[in-house]
Structure formats: C-alpha cells, structure tokens
C-alpha cells in the first residue's frame, strides 16, 4: 500500500478545493497540501478551442472524459467528475446572497439561521470576488452595501441588453449587469473575454474562471500536490480518539493497489453530492452511521432553489447572438416585507431567439426550402424574444436527502448516492402563492412595453444544489460549525456547498467560495497542531 503523509489532505478538486488550497498556501507558506480528486486533470488549455468547435459542430462534450462511468448518482445535476469540477463548465455568475438568507428564522420564522454574521461573510465575499476577478456593478439597492468595489467594472452591456434593460426598467424594477467571474482584460494567467459566448460549455480563452488554472499555478511552485484519478473511498478514525487518521483511496489505473493518506487535517471539498456520500460510506463499528453523523443529519436538508422561466415577446428590436451568456439581474425581491406573504427570488433577463429561429415547415405544414425558409425566418425577426427566469427561495425538510443506494454500486462495490429533494411544510404551503407572484412579475415586465408572455415553465430540479452537511451551532441539529469543522471530529472539515443550511435565491458558487475562504483560516490554524 502506498502511503502519503501531509499536513492537509483536501478531498475533491473543484472550485472550493482550488480556493482553499490557494488560501492555505498563503496563510501558511510551506504547508504540505495534497489534493485528491477522483477524476482526471484536463489541463490542455490549448485544445479548448478545438473542443469548442467539436461541441458546436457535432454536439460532443467539450471536456473529454470528465466523468467516471460507474461513479454517478441519481438526482445529480452534472456528470462531471474531474479536476475543476462543475466549475469547468459553469456560466461564471457571481451573485451574492443577501443578509436575509442568513436570518430566515429570525426575520421570517422560517427554516433556520446561518451561524455567521452577514458583515463577516461580506468580507469573504470581497475576497472571493478578488480571486475570481469578478466583473460587476454595485447593486442599486442600498441594502446590498459592499465594503469594497468589484475588482472589475461591469461586463459592458451588449446593445441587446441595453435595449432590454430600458424595457425591463419600465416595470419599475431596477436591473444591473449580472456580476460574472469573467476577465475583461488578462488576469491570473487567463485571457480577456472575446465573447465566444459558450461560457457554460467551455471558454477557450480562459476568461471565464475555471479552477484548473489555479491548480496549475499552485502545482508549478510545488505549493500543492495534486493526485488525480484517485478516488477516496473511506475515511478512517483513529483507534483511540475521534479524529480522522487516514483516507483510503484507490487510483483508477491501479485498482488493486490501495493508497492511504495520513494528514493532520482532512477537508472534504467534494461538493453537494460526494461530500455526504463519503461520510456515509465511512462506517465502522464505532461509527455505524458514518462519520460526523452523531446528529443523523449527514445527507439531510439537501437544498437548492426552484426556478420559473418565461419567454416574452416585445416590440423593441434586438439582434440575438450578441452576448447570449450575459444577462441582467434584479435584486428587487431579495427582501420580503415582514407583513407580506413570504416570497424571495431574483429576476433575470437574457436576450433570446426563442420563436424566431429558422423553421422547416409553416404552421400549416408546408415544407420550406431555400429562400422561402430564409424569408419566413426574416418575417419573424421583427421585435424580440426575451428570456426571463426567477430563482426562488425554497427550504428543505429533513427528509430532503442523499442516501446510499444499494442497488447501484461502482466497480469497487461502494453503493452510489441517490438524492431526493423535499420541501418543508411552509414552502409547500406557499407554493401556489409564490408561483402566482413570480408569474405576476413576469407579466408586469412584459406589459411595461407592449409585451406579452408567450410561454412559462417551471424547472423540475433544484438548481445550484447544496446541503447535506449543514452548519450550525448545535451539534444536535447540524453536522459542522460555521467554519465547516465537524462537531464529531476535530480534524475533519467540510467546506463549501454541503455546509449551507438553505440554498438562497440566486446562483450559489460565490457563496460556496466565500464560505470556504472563511473556513481556510480555521483549517490553517487546525493544521498547526
């Protein structure tokens, strides 16, 4: 058996792992850090342009072999398992939550409060934005006060978004350019944006942040060791104390040669799914329900946000294709007056070509060919389609769970996870009113400029999933403290998405990173021991 000794062993190679490794190497220069990732490294930046072309022309996945075929979960939102994680192909949206997210219980009597003060978290938001080089514009709402400016000004609004902003603001709502982790000029070894407009698939220039850049920058001066294609299957507890002694792993290419990692501190940075999964898998006679699970809450309170979306037709003319991955955001409904029914959501606006695309047949069924098709298309390009979406604050019940599914096992015989989201009673009770409110906002936007809603739909999954190892003060009702240190094992931390008690009403990645940067301080201290 190969054994590796280190100060900090980070399990998982996504965005929170990258940020944690970077911050730890700053807080404690010389600290030994090993990052263990089950998937492979895809560090061939030079090929990204080609991958993008293949994706566009042939529908091929732009991150070759970024998955492990037998390491998948029911209820997961992406198959990606590689160095960089889901942030290889995120859109780069970097919205902050608001203070209300941390005070749901205190303000509204709902769900639970986070064990963090907003003013403290805000400092870490600033740090996260610096590291990701977020481009943004201060919110027009004074409650969204920032202690530091964005590191970059906003992404310039395309002509289309300028038109749509003027349209949307006729409704009385205020809109801003979406803050994004997208370089306007070269930064951090990455180029500036040149509007390939495939941020959510692959960014050939690297302008949209992805963690592979950070890992490479940490590996070159040997600040970290990255062990990819290495699946951690179990954490093992010390025989005498409730501390973690080792992580047992196996390399994809050498499955018969187990690997053991011994560290002062172990950090599970494996995202919303695989973090709980690893803790639940790590059973023993002393811990028959897995690790960090004396509360029985590992894998519970899985969260995220629901979403509703709509397409509006308006009279103003836009030209779809200018910058389709950028959008406008309104934070108007991040706050809910205490005397009104509870509803919180963001509101987003994108340019769209929906309903204005080339079509093969007329509504009567006649086949269109050549110039007929082109002319039919042209006749439908007048005015604009607008894509609207709202991420809605919903709260999980304890039965919103990740469990081990004994019917699905990987090649090593480990049961794979199954995620089933459930809402708490108040969320279910207000569902109809929430939907009516959001539909009303969409209608209000459309009508403000002779527009009309032509299609509305609801997402059938929770976006930006989180939870499973929720943080809290009370060990009976939470898995870890506000720094991610598990209540049961002093040298075991969980960071990022899994620690969030609730999923907010806007993209979560910036919050995952901010929480992780805050955890880094405690982890650096812990690894001095």
């Amino acid at each position: 058996m190969a054994t590796h000794e280190t100060d900090v062993c980070i399990i998982g190679g996504g965005i929170t792992s990258a940020m944690l490794a970077e911050r730890l190497s700053e807080l404690r220069p010389g600290i030994r850090i090993i990052v263990v990732e089950a998937g492979r490294s895809i560090f061939d930046t030079r090929n990204r342009g080609r991958y993008r072309e293949r994706a566009m022309q042939y529908g091929e996945h732009p991150w070759p072999e970024d998955y492990i075929e037998d390491q998948q979960a029911d209820g997961i939102i992406s198959l990606t398992m590689a160095v960089g994680g889901l942030a290889l192909h995120w859109g780069g949206a970097c919205n902050r939550f608001s203070e209300e997210d941390l005070r749901l219980k205190s303000i509204y009597g709902l769900a639970t409060d986070w064990p963090i003060e907003w003013r403290e978290l805000e400092r870490y938001y600033c740090d996260a934005e610096r590291r990701l080089n977020v481009s943004g514009e201060p919110s027009p709402h004074p409650e969204d006060h920032r202690s530091e400016p964005y590191p970059q000004g906003p992404i310039p609004l395309s002509y289309n978004l300028q038109i749509l902003k003027a349209w949307a603001e006729k409704s009385g709502l205020k809109f801003s350019p979406l803050p994004m982790a997208r370089n306007l000029t070269p930064f951090g070894g990455r180029d500036g944006c040149c509007v390939y407009d495939t941020c959510g698939e692959v960014c050939p220039s690297g302008a949209r942040y992805s963690p592979d850049f950070t890992f490479r920058q940490l590996m070159a001066p040997k600040k970290i060791e990255l062990h990819d294609k290495t699946l951690v299957r179990r954490l093992v507890v010390d025989e005498r104390r409730p501390t973690i002694a080792a992580a047992q792993a196996v390399h994809q290419d050498r499955p018969n040669d187990p690997i053991e990692y011994r560290a002062k501190t172990f950090v599970v940075a494996s995202g919303y799914c695989w973090s709980s999964h690893l803790l639940l898998l790590s059973t023993s006679a002393r811990f028959p329900n897995g690790l960090a699970n004396s509360s029985g809450l590992v894998g519970r309170y899985m969260n995220g946000h629901r979403f509703m979306q709509a397409t509006a037709n308006i009279d103003d003319q836009t030209f779809p294709g200018q910058n389709m991955t950028h959008s406008l955001i309104s934070r108007e409904f991040f706050r809910c007056p205490g005397d009104k029914p509870f509803v919180r959501h963001d509101t987003r606006v994108w340019e769209s070509a929906a309903g204005r695309e080339p079509r093969l047949r007329t509504p009567e069924g006649k086949l269109l060919m050549g110039d007929e098709l082109l002319n039919d298309w042209r006749s439908r390009t007048k005015g604009s389609s607008v894509r609207l979406r709202a991420y809605i604050d919903v709260h999980p019940s304890a039965d919103s769970r990740l469990t081990l599914d004994p019917s699905k096992k990987n090649r090593h015989g480990d049961p794979m996870p199954k995620i089933e989201h459930r809402f708490d009673e108040p969320t279910l009770a207000r569902k109809a009113a929430t939907e009516a409110h959001v539909s009303g906002v969409f209608e209000r936007l459309a009508k403000a400029s002779n527009g009309r809603i032509v299609a509305t739909s609801q997402g059938d999954y929770l976006d930006h999933p989180a939870g499973g190892c929720r943080m809290g003060v009370d060990p009976a009702t939470s898995v870890c403290d506000s720094h991610g240190r598990t209540h049961d094992h002093e040298n075991l931390f969980v960071v990022g998405a899994p620690t969030m008690p609730t999923g907010g009403c806007t993209n979560g990645t910036l919050t995952f990173v901010a929480l992780t940067l805050r955890s880094a301080v405690a982890i650096a201290d812990a690894s001095r021991v």
């Binding site: 990606t80 310039p156 079509r359 110039d371």
Partner: protein, 188 residues
Amino acid sequence: MKRRTLLQRAAAIVAMVPFDRIRMFAQPRELTPEAIATLHAVAATVLPASLGDAKIRDVADRFVGWTRGYREGVALAHGYGHPRLVKSAQSPAPRYIRQLAALDASSKSRGAGWLALDLETRRAIIDAALVEAGVRALPPRPLGEHVVADLMAFYFRSSEANDLAYRALINREVCRPIAITTRKPAAL
C-alpha cells in the same frame, strides 16, 4: 494435422470473428462521388438561391467535410439538470449515401435529373423523404436522421445564416472584442 482438426480450428477462428464490427468498419465513412454530386444538386434546392451558386457549392462541400470529420462513440454533451451519458452513433455517411441515392432514383423515376424537375416536384420528393425519416422540425445541428435536414441545419443554424436573416453583422459565437457587442450590429 488431420483434415478434421484443421476444419475444426478454421471453424473456431471464423466463430471468433466479430462480423458486426467488420460490417461496421466496412461501412463508408465518407460520401461517395455519386452521393456528393446528388448532394450538390439538392443543395441548390434547399439552400437559398440568393447565396449564389459558388456559396451554395461551398456550403455543400463544407457539409461533406463535416461528414468526414464525424467521430463515432464519443461522449456527447451530458446536459445539466438531468445529465445523461450518451455517445455519438455510427457515422451517418452510409445513411446519407442511401438517402441521396433514393432522392436520385426518385427524380430519375420521373424521367428527369434532379434540377430538371419543377420546384413542387422536388419539394414533394424531399417532403416524403423527411416524413419517412421522421424529421418534423429543423434539427438544432446535423443529427443523422436525414441528409437533407442535416444539410439545412448545417447552414441555417450557422452564425452566417443568422446574420443573413437579421440582415446585420451579429457574428454570433465568433470571437470578437467585447466592445463591438455594445453597438447596434452594422447592417449587412
């Protein structure tokens, strides 16, 4: 070696041959010259004549290149929300060849070459072929169901066609300075 033993061994070897694979590898991965000739003729019908003959020929040639560049068994985009691992199917080239041959045969059965047929006859032939192939709408990109639908998707889903439809230089998904996008696209 006894004759019976020799025959038994030969039979065993034959039994081990993966005929399915051989059949797959025996399939053409590229369009034949005859198929390409029919494709060019059909392209003049289904692509906008306003592009001009040279442009139409160029689009058809690039589509032939697309067919040549197709890779089998490659993971397709997994999707987000409800991801699924799906791999690319066998090359569409053999199907395209059959479909183009069928279009050619249809025109000849009417006593004329493709371009000598009147527009409504050509439309009827293509319509029937698309219906038979189960194509109801313009695919988002070539999907291998029918060569005509795929050729049309190849062009009409392009940034270039988008510009033509909007009569503006939008350059969708073309690398360009971000400042350009802040201005109204220049008219074509």
